[in-house]
């Protein structure tokens, strides 16, 4: 065993003459001859592929979540919610396609055959409650894939965990195009079986929720779903109505609250205007103040806002009717009490009927 400290984990490369099957403890990163890394948090049994082929050198990839490749189903992927970074050995066989050809840790095929015994796997991780379950999903999964995987399938996984399904398909394609010993039909069949099974399990889990039945996959799935549901309900809403607020306004706020001031969402504003007060359509324009007064009278328990009676309308909205306009970008806008200082740039100014263009402008004003 040659320990290779590639990353933070100890990695072992199995010599070619090693007799299989080999039991590897948990938490070991396995690297195939092709260069792919498998990190497993459960003990692994590595067996030799029936048709050993020379490994192809490839850029090392980290196999992240096969389980995702295996759809939501986590039968083979026990700790779906816990350790997203782990690639469980059972998941490898589950995905089938991902069989590295060479004598390097080829988990699936060997495990396939030895599934019923489910070897060393048990309760690998204390943190993973599914540790004990991991064998079982493998078992169930393996049962659906009786045909031996073609060894020489080499995995080409992209590193992105998000595109597991894509990888899945890419792998299958590559597997298809791979060397002669592949039985393309087998791969496709296996894939289909896996996908179907995963779907079934997902449905089952949804129907039955996390019951601690013998079917571990269901429990796992239920757990995952529970995670999702509980996560959703745990999301704290920092913003929101104070009991009596309008629903319409609620919807508008989370979308726009954090937008930049410069981004004008005209449609949203219109929607808000329409939603906030149908009667206030006129009041938006600053000129028609008196008309809006009557419509806006709200009776309130404590203190009716006798609109227009005790409160005087704000004066002089005409300030904005001026023709002197500056359209520009700002470097810095500063204010102290009522003294404003502007540092502007790249602007066009219409002043006194004449247009001016500037790359920099500095101004002061009192409010």
């Amino acid at each position: 065993m040659i320990p290779n400290t590639s990353e933070t984990l100890a990695t072992f490369s199995l010599p070619a003459g090693l007799t299989y099957p080999v039991q590897i403890p948990a938490g070991v990163t396995l690297q195939t001859a092709s260069g792919q890394l498998y990190k497993v948090n459960v003990p692994v049994v590595v067996t030799q592929a029936p048709a050993g082929q020379l490994p192809e050198s490839k850029p090392t990839h980290k196999v992240t979540e096969r389980r995702e490749a295996a759809a939501p189903q986590s039968a083979v992927i026990p700790p779906n919610a816990t350790h997203p970074q782990e690639a469980e050995p059972p998941s490898v066989p589950a995905t089938a396609v991902t069989q590295p050809p060479h004598p390097k840790p080829t988990l699936p095929p060997g495990q396939e055959s030895s599934l019923p015994q489910q070897p060393p796997v048990p309760a690998a991780e204390p943190s993973q409650p599914q540790g004990a379950r991991s064998p079982e999903p493998e078992v169930t999964l393996e049962e659906n894939e009786p045909s031996p995987r073609p060894e020489p399938v080499s995995l080409r996984m992209t590193a992105s965990p998000c595109s597991q399904m894509l990888d899945f398909q890419i792998c299958t394609e590559e597997a298809l195009t791979h060397t002669a010993q592949l039985k393309n039909r087998d791969i496709d069949d296996i894939l289909k079986e896996v996908i179907e099974e995963e779907r079934e399990k997902a449905e089952r889990a949804r129907n039955q929720m996390p019951a601690k039945t013998d079917n571990q996959s269901e429990a796992v799935l239920g757990l995952d779903l529970d995670y999702n549901y509980s996560e959703l309900s745990d999301i704290v809403q920092l913003d929101g109505p104070a009991g009596d607020s309008d629903i319409e306004e609620e919807e508008g706020v989370p979308l726009e609250e954090n937008d930049f001031l410069g981004i004008i969402n005209a449609e949203a504003i219109k929607a808000l205007q329409e939603g906030d007060g149908s009667s206030d359509g006129n009041s938006i324009s600053s000129t028609s103040d008196s008309e809006g007064a009557d419509e806006l009278a709200n009776v309130e328990e404590e203190d009716p806002l006798n609109s227009g009676d005790d409160v005087i309308e704000q004066d002089i909205p005409d300030l904005f009717d001026t023709d002197n306009v500056i359209v520009c970008q700002y470097d810095k806008i500063h204010r102290s009490k009522n003294r404003w200082k502007f540092h502007l740039k790249d602007g066009v100014m219409c002043y006194g009927g004449r247009d001016y263009v500037f790359s920099k402008a500095v101004g002061e004003a009192e409010w």
């Binding site: 306004e249 954090n258 906030d276 809006g292 806002l305 409160v311 704000q314 004066d315």
Partner: protein
Amino acid sequence: MDSSNDEALDIIITNVVATFRTRCHLNLRTIALEGTNVIYKPEVGKVLMKLRKPKITASIWSSGKIICTGATSEDDAKLGARRLARLLQKLGFKVRFSAFKVVNVLAVCSMPFAIHLIDFTKNNRPIASYEPELHPAATYRIKHIKATIQVFSTGSITVTGPNVQNVATAVEQVYPLLFECQKPRYK
């Protein structure tokens, strides 16, 4: 009034802070884009709206809570708050003026004499505290009316309390204590 002196002390209210609620959610973006005299602070999550008359600055939160500062009297604060609510109403929000409360009143007063702070603090322990390295004024807190008085050696004092009445009471209470420790102005 027994503690007040012959001349009337001018208690000048410089700031009144009040809060109220609009009982409805407010869209800050709408207020920022369409309101007049507004400053939008998205990083904090509030909009400042300044009124010219009365001279008030209001911090508006999306929850509907509004804090009005800068008024010079309690009535002014209430008037300004109502005007503000009216403005928001005009912008299209279903505003209800509720839970108006004056939270803080700040007043200044000037004594006709200078004060010896160390003596003052010694006489009034532990109600008074004085830490010259931190702040040049002695702090005198009257617990039962919840007023805080800061006494400067020049004879000026600032008083903060929950309402104007408390502030006046506090000044009257503290005046005799200050009178005792006055420092002759000649040096």
